[in-house]
Symmetry: C2
Subunit: 133 residues, 2 copies
DNA sequence: GTCCCTGCAAATCCTTTGCACTCCT
DNA sequence: AGGAGTGCAAAGGATTTGCAGGGAC
């Protein structure tokens, strides 16, 4: 395992992901960290995100469209994506037990993790206009 | 809605996705269609994949790494990805009812669809070497 | 003939990487 | 000093797009 030195930039990246619940993209994280460290580079953000994901401190979320998002909440939970506004919401992990049981029955090998993603239109979007932007 | 004309290329793209169970990538589809139509272009494959997905004839699968895959089986089922060999397996949809019930309870809006993806190491890989390629 | 479909190549988007330099220990 | 961290910019992979020509109706 490679030695890890202190890094203000990495701390800033992690701090932002931890404090926000917005599941930011690399670019959003970059913009934010840039306020505190105007000379930070996007490459550094990506490198630190990769490192933080490796160590399990954050989770990377990939969807069918657009860039990856990052989540500082590594506890069991799922995600809901509004296909109108694109916002990502957290969903409780209630179904985890059932899913793992089903996995044991049907999986062609070991199951180490899984992702459950819901797609729909959130109440805010249904309420505000009734149409999809 | 735009009119749709007959297209040999699109038929070939669709036929291949329908007949294979390998969840091919755009590039794999391109390679295959190129056998029958040597002058087909990758852009055309992507355009036709997008069209077929729009009409619901096929499904696009995105994962945390690598290119998108396409699935001709649009029935309810989930996917298992071996993180050793990268193969994608189908998993039965047994848990769908539970998931939809949980979704109704916890979702911040309507739920129109969802994706459940499992990650692990398949038996083939566990068996053959015990290590990850 | 009209409009869709296609080939080609350039462009775009997102992400990774090489290299030289800086900072931490 | 020595190696990890960084900025910058170029490279990279995947996908999309503009445009002109070809094909279906």
């Amino acid at each position: 395992m490679r030695a890890t030195k202190n890094s203000k930039k990495r701390d800033a990246v992690k701090a932002f992901i931890m404090e926000t619940h917005s599941h930011p993209t690399a670019d959003e994280i970059y913009s934010h960290v840039k306020c505190e460290f105007p000379n930070v580079s996007l490459g550094t953000v990506y490198r630190n995100l990769a490192r933080l994901e490796e160590t399990g401190e954050i989770k990377k979320l990939s969807f069918t469209t657009g860039p990856d998002h990052y989540d500082g909440d590594t506890s069991d939970h799922y995600h809901y994506i509004c296909r109108s506004c694109g916002r990502i919401y957290d969903m409780p992990a209630e179904v985890k037990d059932v899913i793992m049981k089903a996995a044991k029955a049907g999986a062609p090998g070991t199951v180490e993790s899984h992702d459950l993603v819901f797609y729909g239109v959130c109440r805010d979007c249904l309420k505000s206009t009734g149409n999809n932007a």
